[in-house]
Amino acid sequence: MRDRLLILSVFVVASCGLAYELITGALASYLLGDSVLQFSSIIGCYLFAMGVGSHLSQYVKDERVLDTFVEIELLVGLIGGLSASVLFAVFAWTGESFRLTLYALVFVIGVLVGMEIPLVMRALNQREARFAELVSRVLTFDYLGALAVSLLFPLVLAPKLGLARSALLFGLSNAAVAVWTCRVFRHELLRPAVQYLRSLVVVMVLGSGFMVSDMLTHWNEKAIYGDEVIHAETTPYQRLVLTRWKNDMRLYINGNLQFSSRDEHRYHEALVHPVLGALPWARQVLILGGGDGLAAREVLKYPNVQHITLVDLDPAMTTLFRTSAPLVALNGGSLNNPRLNVVNQDAARWLEQHDAEFDAIIVDFPDPSNFALGKLYSVPMYRLLSRHLADNGLAVVQSTSPYHAPRSFWSINATLQAAGLMTTPYHAYVPSFGEWGFILAAHHPGYIPPQHYQVPLKFLDREATRQMFFFPPDMQPWKMQPNELNNQLLVHYFEQDWSQVIR
């Protein structure tokens, strides 16, 4: 009976051992991306650590085998059980030491798990079971446990409980094995009372962790994005995270908010319609950036537009917005529209290599927050752009905030002018961004904002359009220098502007 109990604990112990490996692997690929690399390196580290554990098990004295087994179960339960929660917290709050913590935890758990089976075998061996039979039984249950968890984890536990609570559950199982062993073998243990007490503490810690883990996860995820993450992906170019809170979907790229589904219509209507509304003859449209297909959705409202070329670097982004049901609902399937052609290439490079002309060009690049991005707001870039703009065509550039970042906004205006373009700046209020700015550019002066729109809109009408082109006294133009590549003033302006806004 007692031996059978030990064998049963092998089953539990093996399940838990594999579970920690799967949980840390899943967590790492979820947070860091590149799942093949994460899983391989974690399994490698874990198996190696198990080897170290098996090696160390020989130093446990014969009379302490059962005591050590109980202690190890408690330690594995505690460390393994809390591993996912700890890793998540480290990622959310510090970020930098995440990898180190990850591999340290995996190694420690691996070493402990590696000691379990050798100790059980020695305990059984002391009871004079036949060696051949012993090895066969222990390993049979070891592998059976592994099979059970490898099916249970992806199908039931991960989706139902989540990673943090699954880990806690396995931790509790380890602790249960400890309690159980204490109870059944109390006469053979050297210090049964102490072991009991320890088990109790561990079970309580893990149990309460299980109760509050929902809160913890929520708190950690909030620390990162504030809302529930419904999609996260690390591509070679950026990290895409999609969150949802009630009916508000938000896309973050590298942690920066790109849009909120509640008010993105304001941003995209303001970006697109002052151009397209003034060009009833426009046939060919170019969108640079805008892989979310939201600007394209607005452009496609115009039946006169025959063809849209959308150049966005990241295929993962355009694929996501072409295939994910809620996102396709949001962009109206614009990226699957036959009138639109997606080119996954660097937009600046594409402009260098092609020479097609467009009636309208919509530029939705990331803000000039570093030297590499600042180059996209430079005279050579805008000269390149103007070569692709038809003689009577219009271009529009997303230009940061004239209210929060006036130096940047008016410097972009000066840069477009230095490239020989006539500019018309305007702005719109987008609640999740604040007051946002755009600059319209053309080869010739005389742009007149549309008085009415032929297409259905939620935000813009005659009066809203008039207000966009009116700059109230607290948003008057600043006299700024154009952005030159050899000094990149814009990047300094941008830093200066936002350092005064963000506390």
């Binding site: 937009a347 600046a348 030159e484 050899n486 990149q488």
Partner: protein, 533 residues
Amino acid sequence: MQIARRDFLRTAAALAGLPLLAGCHQVLGWGLPVEVMRPGMAEGHRLRDTTRLPSPRSTRQVDTVIVGSGAAGLFAGWQLVREGYRDFVVLNGPEPDGNAAAGAFGEWRYPTGAHYLPLPSSESAHVRALLVEMGVIESGGDSLRPRFDERVLVHAPDERLWRDGQWQDGLLPRGLGPDDNAQQQRFFQHVRQLQQQRGIDGRRVFTVPAALASQDPAWRALDRQSFASWLAAQGYTAPGLMWYLDYCCRDDYGSTLAHTSAWAGLHYFAARGGHAANAEDGAVLTWPDGLNPVLRHMRGRIGAERQLDGAAWRVQPQGRQVQVDYVDAHGAQRLLARRVIMTTPLHVAWHLLPHMASLGFEHQQLPPRAPWLVGNVLLERFPAEPPQQPLAWDNVVYGSRSLGYVVATHQLIRTALPERTVFTTYHAFADADPMASRQSLAAASTDSLFEQAMTDLYTVYGPRLRRHMLAARLTVRAHAMASPQPGFLSNPGLAALRAVDGPILFAHSDLSGLSLFEEASWWGSVAARKILG
């Protein structure tokens, strides 16, 4: 037994890819395709060692032959075409584009020699004319401050210096104490005066090209001492400033302070008087592949039909003509020309021209030549940089004996960082005798060259950079440039070659003793004017 076990552990660690061992850079090089280029070495040594000459298979008549296709040769050809003179050929030689050569890993181009051109001063009118034609100068080519194409002006951030585990802006070390700061200020104050300084003949003391500089003996006396002794006499001792000045001498001349003429050392700082309407003084012009596009442009104007592949092995007068024998893929060939412009380095010209001594030039008057190693490594992604210290175009390590690295993709305009990049490292062998360095370079293994070329990169990024490397190409330039040692200005042999106006002319930066594009092209231009009469 002990040793065997240690060996086993070492092998196991190496196999596991663990960077545990001292001198592990060789281990780190494992599996990386490293190519070593030694441009011109085989042809040059054959020229030096061969006595028996093949007889030519064909003979071609042409008015002028330009031997060599570096900056001087191509500039001469470019100027001839510009003036409507077309009866000439350029013999490319074993090192096409000379020190302005470039290479490419697929679409990723990089320099294998010089990587920039300073803003040309008004004395460098010949360079300005070329840049106007290229469209690099957009307007104001004759003015004090021309307007340059922004894509070619080096983009911000241009330079940074690695010191004590962090980067600082610019290459001048800062934060080394009040004495260092004061001396740095005093030195640059001094240099600003020298930039305006004129000799008794009314000419500026320091100019590019150096040929236009004042001949005032009082100023040229600076050439009689080393830069080191001049600095000591002026009371410049601060370690930060001294390191910086030594770095500049190694970077421009391949020699240390002690082996650089004081005139040349000051020339580096005081002669570059170029300005731009749309950039600060001291800005430079650069392309992904260094300044190779300038040479490509000149080749385009000269036309492929006037460029011959092949290496010269003998140039000698034959009656009223000059006979140029060369070897190409088909064998030995001969050109008969009215005039020849020798644009090879002078130590090569010495072997090509049996009668060079009769022109007033002695073998011992050849300037000492510094060996260089240029390393190019293709990276599969940009290494991580510390926050707020972004990658610059030129990145230098304080205290290093190497010269840092430049980033070939720096001038690209992209919405995201390019998926790959090439870092180009530079090392001038300034600390040892050039001859000894050349001998050790000739015997050096690929591993040791790779280790030498990667020194600064590993200092900055650590061995983990190896993981991002896809390929490396090392260019050994054993005779890369003439070093201006004390006394170089009064080399009578060079003066004789500069004055030559017979059937054979000379054009190379060696004639100035300063290895600069402006000097090379100046002598190319002078030779072209002699041809045009």
